[in-house]
């Protein structure tokens, strides 16, 4: 089973996640799409670790997971704060930087 299949799958998942970030309006769903992208990267890392027969890729994937977790925590806390202030969780509503 060539790792290239895994990498291809990772690419597809990554692109799907990217489209989701651009298209969805609910902030939580956007976060979830970002998580999807990160997972796709993890998959690619693990596939390459297998390809090169060393564990560095897995260690990197591990760190990615940790960082993703931290990011989710902080991001959702921010989202909660915004929701409390503005009663809206749509990313389109934060458009004060409009021209």
């Amino acid at each position: 089973m060539s790792p290239v299949h895994y990498v291809a799958l990772a690419v597809i998942l990554f692109v799907i996640g990217g489209v989701g970030v651009l298209v969805r309006r609910n902030a939580i769903v956007v976060f979830m799409c970002i998580e999807l992208m990160l997972n796709a990267c993890n998959l690619a890392f693990v596939a390459f670790a297998r390809l090169h027969a060393n564990l560095d890729g897995q260690v990197i994937a591990f760190f990615v997971m940790v960082v993703a977790a931290a990011e989710v925590v902080v991001g959702l806390a921010i989202l909660m704060a915004i929701y409390r202030a503005r009663r809206s969780a749509s990313v389109d509503d934060a458009n004060l930087l409009k021209y």
Binding site: G18, L22, R25, D92, L97, K98, Y99
Partner: protein, 652 residues
């Protein structure tokens, strides 16, 4: 040593015709070493009076009279010194003005026969007129300023005639132009005076352009602008250069001497006070052009075409001025037309080669006396008649202003060419010279000059009848009175000159011999009573008779009658102003308006459109900032895609 290279025969022809005088100068010695005093006196007076301001008001006029008299005194000393010396072209070096590479122009004062004649004329007649102004301007608040400007003028004119190179001559040329502007517009509060001053300056400028280009040409052709340098090199320079120089110098002379086509400013210049008209626009400044031409005679000697051109200009002008003078009712404007005509004679003389230079200068000197006398007399009448200048309001003034009447009358006889007064002696040789020079064309010039002589007598007789004789046509409140002595004595002195100057200069060829080293010797000797002279005298008498018939026998109407088309044209100065306006002024205005239009639309449009472009583009582009996070995310995504593409492109 002055050297004189004489060519033997005086037959008509280009090179053989010219009896060229080459100018060689020696450094000044003896009393002539102080020749800078001639400039220093009036300049000092001008500086003190103009910078001193109101403080000098009380004694300003005295200083203003003293300085020209001092300059005249030195001029007399210099004249007699020069007579005694064998070297009569003496050059006094003052300082080096320009020294660049091979080009050098010094401020040197050239005292030779020609310049000493002018010095005596300028300072002598000038002193008389300035003394006269003490009385004429007695009630004017700006009298001190007037004397300052007059002294400034004298300094500039003296620099003009004493210069030994064309560049310093040009400095003096511009200086007299400036003084003329200041003096014509002396009564600044009058709009007409200010406009006339500006007009004089602008028309002069056209002529100055000619002189400027001539100096450029001299520098590029000969590498020098000093008289000696240029005159030594011009015979070898080729007739093309000499012709060009001749015509350019003629253009300069036209501007300064009010010859056709640059004559329009002279009649307007009568807006200035009468002493100004007498000094500047009769005796001295307007003769600067003639001085230029006579001084440049070695250049003219090489170019036959330039001489013909000068003669034609002079002839046209003498008829032009005469016709205008015969129709004008303002006494000063009529005298201005007369001045234009007489200078036309002088220019005509300058176009005749060595034949005419001497007589041109003789006419210039005599004219200085009698025209100044006429103008001062006119000023006396104006002063006595409460500033009335229209001759139709004069009449029968002979009893009321006797001294003025006598001096005016003597000057009248002089200008009309009646022997034994000045005009007869100095005008006839020029007319005679017309017929002997320039072949068949010369005959046409001569006939025109004869007609001009008759015309001169006619309009002067008209002036006499309208002013001094006949019935009185005064205004209600006019009580004409004679002028005070400070005004009459200068007139008397000038009248003496009017009577005797011509004979003095011409009899025994006195002036001719004196000026020979500078201007050459006429190839043919003249007697006094020649055929042409006789015809001229007859025409003058005819003119006087015609004047009597039109103005003496018939009472002069108080309002000007409609007159023939020629009269109407002459009253409009032969449409000289109209021609100037339509040929030059209106196109100039259109050009200005066009330029303004292009500047506003084109240049400003370009700049504004650039600004509008920037503004518009930024107005469009700012809409990219929608404020939506997802748009920003999209652009980031695209950026990432582009980066990957580039990395891939590098790798592939």
């Amino acid at each position: 040593m002055t050297t004189l290279t004489a060519v033997a025969d005086g037959a008509a022809g280009s090179a053989a015709h010219a009896l060229a005088a080459t100018l060689t100068t020696v450094p000044a010695t003896g009393a002539l070493k102080l020749s800078w005093l001639l400039l220093a006196f009036p300049l000092f007076g001008a500086v003190v009076l103009l910078i001193g301001g109101r403080r000098t008001d009380r004694w300003g006029h005295l200083l203003g009279c003293a300085m020209p008299l001092a300059a005249f005194a030195y001029g007399v000393i210099a004249f007699f010194t020069l007579l005694g010396d064998t070297d009569r072209s003496q050059d006094q070096h003052l300082y080096t003005y320009i020294l660049v590479g091979h080009f050098q122009a010094n401020v040197n004062l050239l005292v030779d026969q020609l310049s000493i004649c002018f010095v005596l004329l300028i300072t002598g007649v000038g002193s008389m007129i300035i003394i006269y102004s003490v009385g004429y301007m007695a009630h004017d608040r700006g009298r001190r300023r007037f004397f300052g400007y007059m002294n400034l003028f004298l300094a500039a004119m003296l620099l003009l005639v004493l210069a030994d190179n064309y560049l310093v001559l040009y400095v003096g040329w511009e200086g007299v132009g400036l003084a003329s502007y200041l003096l014509i517009g002396f009564w600044q509060e009058r709009n007409s005076a200010a406009v006339a001053a500006k007009k004089a300056f602008v028309v002069n400028r056209v002529g100055d352009a000619g002189l400027t280009v001539a100096i450029f040409l001299m520098f590029s052709a000969f590498g020098t602008v000093s008289f000696t340098g240029v005159f030594h090199q011009v015979p070898s320079g080729g007739s093309g250069v000499a012709t060009a120089l001749g015509f350019l110098l003629l253009l300069g002379a036209c501007g300064k001497s009010a010859q056709v086509p640059l004559q329009s400013w002279l009649l307007d210049a009568m807006e200035g006070p009468t002493p100004v008209s007498a000094l500047i626009h009769a005796a001295t400044m307007v003769t600067a052009g003639v001085y230029l031409l006579v001084r440049s005679n070695p250049i003219l000697a090489v170019s036959e075409d330039a001489q013909i051109g000068i003669a034609i200009v002079g002839t046209v002008t003498l008829l032009f001025g005469g016709i205008i003078a015969a129709a004008k009712d303002d006494i000063k404007k009529s005298l201005a037309g007369s001045t234009m005509s007489q200078i036309g004679y002088m220019t005509l003389g300058a176009g005749l080669g060595p034949e005419g230079y001497v007589f041109s200068i003789a006419l210039l000197l005599a004219h200085g006396f009698y025209k100044a006398g006429l103008f001062l007399g006119a000023g006396s009448v104006i002063h006595g008649m409460n500033d009335e200048q229209d001759m139709r309001r004069y009449g029968a003034l002979a009893r009321a202003l006797p001294v003025t009447y006598v001096t005016f009358g003597l000057a009248y006889l002089a200008i009309a060419g009646i022997p034994p007064f000045s005009g007869f002696f100095v005008k006839d040789p020029i007319i005679e010279g017309d017929f002997t020079e320039h072949g068949a064309g010369g005959w046409i010039l001569g006939i025109c000059a004869l007609i001009g002589a008759g015309l001169t007598a006619f309009y002067m007789t008209r002036m006499m009848y309208m002013t001094w004789w006949g019935k009185r046509r005064w205004a209600q409140d006019a009580h004409p009175h004679e002028s005070p002595p400070v005004m009459t004595w200068p007139m008397i002195v000038l009248a003496v000159g009017s009577v005797g100057a011509g004979g003095f200069l011409i009899i025994n060829d006195r002036l001719q011999n004196f000026l020979a080293p500078v201007v050459g010797v006429p190839p043919v000797e003249h007697g006094f009573f020649t055929v042409a002279g006789g015809v001229a005298l007859l025409l003058a008498l005819a003119g006087i008779a015609l004047g009597w018939a039109m103005y003496g026998r018939v009472p002069v109407p108080e309002t000007a009658p409609h007159g023939s088309p020629l009269t109407v044209a002459a009253r409009n100065e032969l449409y000289g102003n109209t021609i100037n306006e339509s040929l030059v002024m209106r196109p100039g205005q259109w050009l200005t308006r066009l330029s303004v239009y292009f500047d506003n639309r084109g240049v400003d449009g370009l700049v504004n459109s650039l600004a509008a472009l920037v503004g518009g583009t930024s107005g469009r582009w700012r809409r990219i900032q929608t404020g939506f996070v997802r748009s920003y995310a999209l652009s980031m995504f695209f950026g990432a895609v582009i980066v990957v593409a580039l990395l891939l492109a590098v790798r592939l």
